[in-house]
Amino acid sequence: MMEWLEPIQKFLGPAWLPIWTLLKIVVIVLPLMGAVAYLTLAERKVIGWMQIRIGPNRVGYFGLLQPLADGLKLLMKEIIVPSGANKFLFIIAPILTLMPALAVWAVVPFNAQLVVANINAGLLYILAMASLGVYGVIIAGWASNSKYAFLGALRSAAQIVSYEIAMGFALVTVLMAAQSLNLGDIVRGQHGEHGLLNWYLIPLFPMFVVYFISGVAETNRAPFDVAEGESEIVAGFHVEYSGMAFALFFLGEYANMILVAFLASIMFLGGWLSPVPFLPDSIVWMFAKVAFMLFLFLWFRATFPRYRYDQLMRLGWKVFIPISLLWVVLVGAWMQTPYWLW
């Protein structure tokens, strides 16, 4: 499908590969950053509506320029490095948070053809990259040379690591059902003549719930946002950050939110597949499902009070891990019977 590019490829010679790769990165990252920016606006609007307010509406029509104004404000602000901080690590920590959040997008398929790197171990790559994000948190907390940031980092790191286990088990059931780690194949495994009923959402519904709630906890979102906790504490690991360094943590958080929404759509909601047999499969379905999952994130934030830290740990270790372990065994047994229809 890329035949028209060949003359350009010949012209550029060996420079072609880096340029082409950079181009692909830009094509993924720029819309992602735009989505992150407008997700913040959507969040403020939706939470506003649910609190019978109207949300930002002064900067531009419907508040549409608000994210740009916010971004500009953060860009202009000074990045203050505390005097006792380890300067190198302090600067590198937000980058370490954002980098994996962006790198993950290499393997995310948008539809049957549209994927940057269609690798076989896509899901494994995603798990590996998502786990790297916790280093940014720990390094940020330690490099700040502040006891508050340090305690916040320990808290967030423990939370992220705990929920990763339950999340991993939820994904194990998916790859048992799909018999593949390739995200494209996982979606294709959900293809069938019954549309919606062929999705893994039906047999793996508890795992879908576990995965999504773990995803909310993993991205430090309400009701698991003890890392930020703006109504109780100042912040967690990022207290000492300001300006764009601070914004990078949030870019990472929102990029991860979008990623969790994408993965939930791909693995449980049939990705780009149409929910009803008489409508064609299309990338539009993909974005609709992602938008719905993102809306759930905002809905949760507008509804639930924050978990206490011990409750949060209890939910992760004593509820989600047993349930997901049980379901792994159950799905395994189920797949050996003729009643497995997926």
Binding site: V46, M50, T303
Partner: protein, 162 residues
């Protein structure tokens, strides 16, 4: 039995879904936000905003310099100096209200025997440099002159409750 019921209720996230249904409903509810510069909430006639000094219909200032307001002011925001005018009446030579100290309790208005110092409905005012909110006698009189009609109307509405 009750425990089992409770377990399933928690496990199936019943209460969480109920909460989400509630917020979901409110998403479509009519919004109560007042978009301030364009829309304003109604004000009562007892509204206590910016201060003003009133005059009688013949143009004579009401204030007789009794200093009751200065005495009653809990924030010590009022400063008054008094002297005898050429015609032998007692008048203020200085009547200052520091609006940055004022707590808008309305005691000055309440204590005034001649209804000279009043609080108006004006609440959108500002100062751009230090001292701008230190209102002197001519400034207070100017506010009174400008808004006398509204001030008189508000006093008249309140009169029957006193």
């Amino acid at each position: 039995m009750e425990k089992i019921k409770e377990f399933f209720k928690t496990f199936l996230l019943v209460e969480l879904l109920k909460g989400m249904a509630l917020t979901g409903r409110y998403m479509f509810a009519r919004k109560i936000t007042v978009q301030f510069p364009e829309e304003k909430t109604p004000q009562g006639f007892r509204f206590r905003g910016l201060h003003a000094q009133r005059r009688y219909a013949n143009g004579e200032e009401r204030c007789i310099g009794c200093k009751l307001c200065e005495a009653v002011c809990p924030a010590l925001a009022i400063k008054i100096e008094v002297a005898e005018r050429e015609d032998g009446t007692r008048r203020t030579t200085q009547y200052d209200i520091d609006l940055t100290k004022c707590i808008f309790c309305g005691f000055c208005e309440e204590s005034c025997p001649v209804d000279a110092i009043v609080e108006t409905r004006i609440f959108e005012y500002h100062g751009e440099k230090r001292g701008d909110l230190y209102y002197t006698k001519p400034m207070l009189l100017a506010v009174g002159d400008k808004h006398e009609a509204q001030i008189a109307k508000d006093r008249a509405s309140d009169a029957k409750y006193r």
